[in-house]
Symmetry: D4
Subunit: 225 residues, 8 copies
């Protein structure tokens, strides 16, 4: 009774509804995951933004669930057939949880996911070292806080579809991520599109939709950096 | 001397540099179009944001140029081989110039472009009538001003990659497009990504990158509505 | 001594003063409810924004009070004669407390209240399924967070007076509800009016004033969805 | 070709589409008025936000049109049967155009309209002198710029449904009407709902929907002050 | 060593430095009060913004101190000779702490202070009932949150110098007091000047400077409402 | 007919209504000045914010009027009996029109006005040279744009009532005067109160109300710097 | 009479006052340049922000003046002894006027100035090609609009003092330069300091103060790119 | 594995990467300090923004570390050869932690650091008393919250390079330091550059880069005030 799942969504859009666990009790989240698991379709049931308590409750109640404590996500049921590759870059160590949310969701949606960490623009050589990897991806997700300059630099180097995710990392006039978000929206590198602050989930949905249309030959999941 | 073209860009990203004619004289724009035309690569030379005066100057000086007075764009040289289909939806008649900029650029980048006009959420039946067309596209670009709700409704109906472009249409607390932009970034339909206000050009670059990776079978250019 | 009740208000406007319990002790709230109960007039004494502790204190001290733990409201004394119908729609499960506040207050002000839940614009079929119910109401209150698009869609479907309530649901550039509020104020569906963020109470007062002027024939309280 | 009228709107909501003439040529506005005039329904065709040039063009091309040069509106065709009374209050002389837009549209939608001018809160006696008139209306529209305090004072005096319209009158930290709009949304008088800055049109649509449900006995059009 | 008191200030401006206890330990606040007490001049040593813990520490360590737990202030030493009257009005019960801070400081600076409570503009009769009192004051301080309309109404009724203090009372688009502050700065009643949000202290300093220049005959301290 | 003068205002507050000529025609301003001139009371009729055209029209139509082309003000009729002294300081040459508006209005309201120009904080010696003059005033009005620091420095040097007026002088992040306004509201010198951006008129009304209560002995009008 | 020059400034700070010609007549600017020229000291008289008309008037009236129509600056009198080198980088061609203002003023203050143009982060190879030049400078000034990412990239490559100047280049959510300014203030490359939007003048003053303290050996004026 | 240190940074810029301990565990911070200590170069390993717990953990695990509990910083390893002098001024006692962060880092980077405390502009004599000291520094860092006026006053008195650091000290419309930051960016004293709110670290890096280029003769570390 406390929620009405949009069980038609997978039919319409291919992607089923996902449990947004923030503000829900552990019991509610477990129940919603079970209900989504019942739905027809080829995707696992997913929940995001789990608290420590809910992460533990899901692990206990649903032993088959895949739980990621950095990404704060859980998944239940088989993954769909593989569908393209997504590479997730993050600028600093503090951006890790958002990047992990993208990586978790994209993997559950069938993508081969690569992760490239800590390649902020203040140390360009780290980025230039992985340039070849960037060209191989079907879609890039670039996660950065503070001034959010990383997508501009990456977007000037490769022509792969690129989704930028601003994070709330920073203080003072970082304005909780608004500065990074505004910077990304005004990038001088054309073709960059942007998600809400800390919205690793939304970036993964968008990236998976792009990647699964045309998987590049030979892309496979591995840890780049 | 007044500008230094980034002639490497097409090599790196596939997409060559484009003339942003705002704030340039007609003479400068014509000269830059000629210079870009000299570059190797399979794309036409492009200029956006042309004033009435510059539109006329380009038409006069470069008779081979394709000029669009609503989109305020010009192109010179052959289009690349066809690469996927992009459908551009706009909410109201005032959003037309931004949608036209997207359509023009996407077509010059090789996409088969469809246009669906004046399907604002206050008259849903107009949108539901074209639902089949939406599913056929390789990428959707949804252009809206005021509250910018159209991408949320479209994004709940189809799973095609969707890029939202806020426009500066509106007054008062529309805040020159910020209200529409914020609304799109906070859409309850997951997987929507967003461009800067009135940035039809950027949306076209992103859409063409997505569409050319995996053209859907049978998509062809036609006017939907 | 700690407050001076505006005991004339019911005489002037029909609606008596209401206790805003936020920042008041449980004892103060109980005392003010008792004092309002003494006033002449046909309305119950009302308090909103009760903490868990105050909800319990009111229930204990005033056994006749009607207490709603989701709406965080309490009422004491008889309801007025029935006066029209108000239908409250909410977009997502997180918007529930605000919608419940509207429903509670409108019912105490004499309205027959219907509730329609979880009909966010990302799943339009849920809304279209209840369209008939919308036409029957004397006033609609539409509650939504994030991008706040639901009032635009509803406002394009029916001509019933419609009050939009933005909620603080969302994160990042949702800006604590400002994004939803700005979206509602700039709706392309004309005739929508807007309340402050999370102000379910104010929406109920406005809706009851509208509804009681002209109750539609045959409207009765029932749960729609 | 340049616009697609939402000709179903009157069937769905009772209120037909209205021409927003800002950014349209005089010829386009005249053509759209003619097209709307052809539609079935009991309302006149309406256009708002006409420039001086378009006002003249409409008057010349459509001699039957009713044209108001302060409200910058035009109407063509018979008004519907009378439906309730709307009283429009304005705070200062500079708020006149917005109040006039509300009055014009409400009258064309069938309301008996009263106007009360220049009753800003800095001179309360002017407001208290017309208190009786306020109680008689089916709906009040209160128009004010600068700090936008007038709706709070009126809302504390009468229980009639009250719609507040902030205007862009003021300078400096008036922020183009945002200060008045924020003030109205945070009114300490409950039950006030708010429109966008300078949106006299939207207020009229909402007021007419409220007023026509239950016309108060004996209300008739006259100039109060 | 942790602070360098501006011991010249009383010589230059008449008003000595005051301890801002927020962020200071109880021990530091007690020590600074003692140090200020040693300074020459006719004013007591003052501290504002004391936490519960510091209020208790001051009461224990300095038994001669006057401590006000609502105003969260403390004073030590004799008050100066009486100097004019200040009347402090507050709009709602939640504004009480800010109004109390003004009242406490003004009294310690030698003013005869009157308090008028809970006279928000939604209940004008409460204000009109005390109009005579307002004319008698040497300076008015008007404290209000939410839309901050009270100073406009008072400023239209009397010509006494009037200082407006916005408070952080409210939620959502009240923006922590910015809405009230902006409203007061844009008042249509001329001659109103404004302090920072919740700055009851600053208002008291300004009011005392005005009041002591020309004490109105016969003004004396009493509780008005 | 086009405006309703608040002819009671002088009775209530001592200060009559003033014509705000912005947005009024020269004819309307002349007519309103004449109408105000008819009112009883000891003040001249005043108009502010006159365009070049209106300044000329007033000078031609009302030869007795005092017209100031820098302040953009006009006055008609005898000044009241002298009442205290007001000193107006301005930070830079660009702040001159706002300071002149204050000076004009204060003089017409009976104050002896002194002007101290171009004493921005970047050249402190200019301010220290006139320190004696500051102590003599009954009220100070300090006008500054950009970062608006001058009131803080003056407020630390003298204990005279001080009204700060931010101006829209500056560019970029000066935000049209908001930066100066915010700075003044957060001054570390206590007792400063603030007016709206560029509101020299409001500052004059407030200053005159303060100054006339207790004219300092021996103050007389002269040009300081 | 219309301005009071701060003729002590050069004695105190080494840098004399400079004419800010915006809002001044050509005659006033010419007169102020002449007056500054009379002052003792080793710097030329300077004026910035000259309109086309004032640029022409200065050239005509002061034939010895150095006038730059892109920088919109003028200088009169001998330059001081050479003092260090400043390198000015700009991201795009639209940033040219701001970069030119910095270059002009720094040169007049005795610096050897190098200019590096059009090295936006979307084309990194252009920047890497001039890396050696960057290390040679005594101070870098980096000018960029839109997202303002260039200072972050430069600041990660060299340890030379770096001043970032945001420009108002961009549209929509570029917010007139605020987005670039916020990005620069939140740079992940430490040690970057920031000026106001479009403030090429202020950057030059700061850079010259830094550069003249310790001119790097062998630096000489030349055009880099 | 949890972070990838930019070990090249010292080679490129002279300044090695620094641990930003906010959001890291005490164990991570200790480990990163040890790893940085291993790097070649002449600088100590540094960490900033340490919690109480991490300060204790560093002191326990790394007995050679220099730990400052006000600055919340730690350093490990030898300081570089002395390089110039930096003077840090702070406006109020609440600004101390930010000023201490600057002082700590500048000292570890080889600067002779002087500290001048509590010299806010409301008590100018305190500043004038140390004017001589200001002229002796190679670089000034001026730290202030609230209205942030201190850099303007200092910048008008001396020509030494000056970096302004806004702090989050203040309340209400201080906006968490934005008001101070905006004020500093709009200073009427030319040549001031600005850091992010509370960014004492960044100011120290910039100041050290300036100071080490040209140490003024005879500057030595001592406590000024
Ligand atoms: N981390 C996330 N960020 C944004 N939206 C999410 C996230 N996780 C789930 N959602 C969306 O939230 C919706 C569920 O909202 P609710 O009905 O309030 O539980 C799902 O349909 C998803 O589209
Ligand atoms: N003054 C107005 N303010 C806001 N919306 C308006 C106004 N006048 C007309 N409209 C709306 O604008 C829509 C037409 O937009 P468009 O398709 O751009 O012409 C109509 O359906 C009306 O709902
Ligand atoms: N320069 C000014 N700034 C702000 N308010 C003004 C100014 N001059 C006149 N006023 C106010 O504007 C009111 C007249 O407004 P209105 O009825 O629109 O003419 C007067 O009562 C004054 O209080
Ligand atoms: N382009 C500029 N941007 C900001 N400030 C400037 C500029 N040019 C000159 N100034 C400053 O403006 C002051 C002159 O202001 P004013 O007294 O209004 O002429 C000079 O002392 C300079 O410090
Ligand atoms: Mg890192
Ligand atoms: Mg339309
Ligand atoms: Mg849901
Ligand atoms: Mg008026
Ligand atoms: Mg109350
Ligand atoms: Mg000057
Ligand atoms: Mg370029
Ligand atoms: Mg202090």
């Amino acid at each position: 009774g406390f929620a009405r799942l949009d069980t038609h969504r997978a039919l319409r859009t291919g992607d089923p509804e996902v449990v947004y666990a923030a503000g829900k009790t552990p019991q509610q989240t477990v129940a919603l995951l079970r209900a989504l698991r019942e739905q027809p379709g080829d995707r696992p049931a997913l929940a995001t933004r789990l608290s420590d308590e809910t992460l533990a409750a899901v692990a206990a109640a649903l032993p088959d669930a895949r739980v990621d404590t950095v990404a704060r996500c859980a998944a239940l049921g088989d993954r769909p057939a593989p569908g393209g590759s997504v590479t997730v870059l993050s600028a600093g160590t503090s951006d890790e949880p958002v990047a992990a949310e993208t990586a978790f969701v994209a993997a559950e949606y069938g993508c081969a996911v690569r992760r490239i960490r800590d390649v902020g623009v203040a140390g360009l050589h780290r980025l230039l070292a992985v340039l070849g990897d960037l060209h191989e991806a079907d879609c890039l997700v670039v996660v950065a806080g503070m001034e959010g300059a990383l997508p501009s630099v990456v977007g000037g180097l490769v022509g792969v579809p690129l989704i930028a995710v601003p994070t709330s990392v920073g203080y003072g006039s970082a304005l909780g991520g608004l500065t990074a978000m505004l910077g990304m929206l005004n990038s001088c590198a054309p073709g960059i599109t942007v998600c809400n602050i800390d919205n690793g989930f939304g970036a993964a949905v968008a990236a998976a939709r792009i990647a699964r249309r045309a998987p590049a030959a030979g892309a496979a999941e591995r840890e780049v950096a």
